[in-house]
Amino acid sequence: MNRAAPYLGPMVSTTGYRDLIEEAGDMARFTGRFFREVLRPRYEWEELLRQAFINGYRSLPLVAVTAFIMGLVLTVQSRPTLERFGAESMLPAMVAISVVREIGPVITALICAGKIGSSMGAELGSMKVTEQIDAMEVSGTNPFKYLVVTRVVSTTLMVPVLVVLADAIAIWASYIGVNFKDTVSWPLFHQQVFDSLIFSDLLPAFFKSFFFGFAIGIVGCYKGFHTERGTEGVGRASHSAVVVASLMIFMLDLVAVQITDILGLN
């Protein structure tokens, strides 16, 4: 005899939504505190430079390899489609515009979200669960200014630099990719690339990469700063920082595209 299954309620409980909204509110308050602290002296220059070195310089090899492969693969994969229309000469222009406008900033930001966001979440989470942050407060050091502001400012400033270098490396890799099956001189390739690029390709992409860097830093720090439940929480903070930062990158990209379109820069 079949018995009716008991009603289990909605798949996502109202508590889940409330937690989500509460976390968004906490993050907004955390961001507001960042802006208050970033303008208020004293500035932690030493720590800022150290964080810039770690988040920027040390991320360069990973970003460079990714950008190189991205430029090369994009060129090789796009060639057959353009060949079908007899438009292989458009390959440098197409790759340059794709890389500069969209692929370069987004891929670089995602790589940084994976590398920097997770390391920030794990590092600050460890400090939180081992009560080092509380100890800093007790010792009279402002942990927010020292740990959060420096990290967020460093990612905000370093990600655009990484994006510019990644764009350059991807275009250079595209030159190599074009020469796999064709013979194009560097001056001609360079001319085709710069003939196709306009300021509205480069500048909006460059400016949005500041927001990507800011999102990576603020999410990584927030997740680390709010770690709970010991070492398990550290792992959760690390992976949660990557996921939320990646999601925010895509959302910011969507907003940036809409703004660019409204301003007539597309």
Binding site: L49, F53, Y57, V164, L165, I198, L202
Partner: protein
């Protein structure tokens, strides 16, 4: 600390490299858009600019010489396009040059193309206005191409039908590809050759006949050239004319006779046309026949009469 200094150096190098790449890129792009070159501004009026945008290239004889600075609508039929032209190129462009809106390749960006005008002209200066020529309209091209495609489709359909007809073995090509047709054609050619020979012989004969006639040889030549024959022919013709006149008179008389016959009051008309007379004659003949029979009986009776019996006996004896 040495480690810290090394970190700072590397960080500085990293930031400088990134910034340099950015600045260099912006500089090159600016150079491409003639942002750092001395330039003059000229303009050209167009009826339509076909999607031209500020910043598009300006080419003179196919070389980039500037960019589109601004596009303004002057009135309902005129769009004024302001062009920034590099100073080094401006000296080569004359004020009688023609500007038109074109496309970089088939699918590329719009651009303003300046072509040299005919005749002499002065170099352009700041504020010069160039004449414009209608450019290549891609939409019009595509419309024409569509019409061409339709025509091509119709032509290929006709060709397909023609090809099907040609492939039919009962048609001309079938006949031409038939192997027995060779013998038929060969025979036909031989017969044509024979006919041609006959025609040539006939022509020769006619030529000979004409030549003989012209030279007075033969019956026709004699007829055409002999004086006596001419007299005879003339006389014959006179006799023929006389005979014709006589014949005309005879025909007139016959005609009158025929009219007489046709006169409904004449005997001949009654005999030939009156059906009542024919009935009367037939009736009269019937009665005559009856009368004749009665007369024979009367005569036989007279022969036996005593008054005439002697006469008939003597006549019979004399006959014996």
């Amino acid at each position: 600390m040495p480690g810290e200094r090394s970190q700072r150096f590397k960080l500085g190098l990293f930031v400088v490299a990134g910034t340099a790449v950015l600045i260099l890129t912006l500089y090159i792009m600016g150079t491409r858009k003639d942002m750092f070159a001395r330039s003059i501004t000229i303009s050209a009026d167009f009826r339509e600019v076909n999607g031209l945008r500020t910043g598009n290239n300006v080419r003179y004889s196919g070389i980039n010489v500037g960019t589109v600075d601004a596009i303004d609508i002057v009135n309902d039929t005129t769009v004024r396009v302001r062009l920034n032209i590099r100073m080094d190129a401006a000296g080569h462009i004359r004020d009688n040059a023609l500007a038109n809106v074109g496309t970089d390749g088939l699918m590329g960006n719009k651009l303003v193309s300046i072509m040299p005008g005919t005749g002499e002209g002065d170099p352009i200066v700041d504020g010069s206005v160039l004449r414009s020529a209608p450019g290549l309209d891609t939409d019009a091209m595509m419309r024409t191409l569509q019409r061409t495609n339709d025509n091509l489709l119709s032509i290929t359909e006709d060709l397909r039908q023609l090809s099907e007809r040609l492939n039919d073995p009962n048609n001309l090509v079938g006949m031409l590809t038939d192997t027995t047709m060779g013998d038929v054609w060969r025979n036909a050619v031989h017969q044509l050759q024979a006919a041609s020979g006959n025609a040539r012989a006939l022509t020769d004969g006619v030529n000979t006949l004409v030549t003989d006639a012209q030279q007075g040889r033969g019956a026709i030549g004699l007829l055409l050239t002999d004086q006596g024959t001419e007299e005879d022919v003339r006389r014959i013709l006179m006799d023929l004319r006389t005979a014709a006149d006589t014949l005309g008179l005879a025909i007139g008389r016959i005609d009158r006779f025929a009219q007489g016959l046709n006169n409904d009051r004449g005997l001949a008309h009654a005999l030939t046309q009156d059906t009542a007379l024919a009935g009367d004659v037939r009736h009269m003949m019937g009665r005559l026949d009856t009368t004749t029979v009665l007369l024979n009986e009367d005569l036989r009776a007279l022969q036996r009469n005593w008054l005439l019996r002697k006469y008939f006996k003597e006549k019979e004896k004399g006959r014996r």
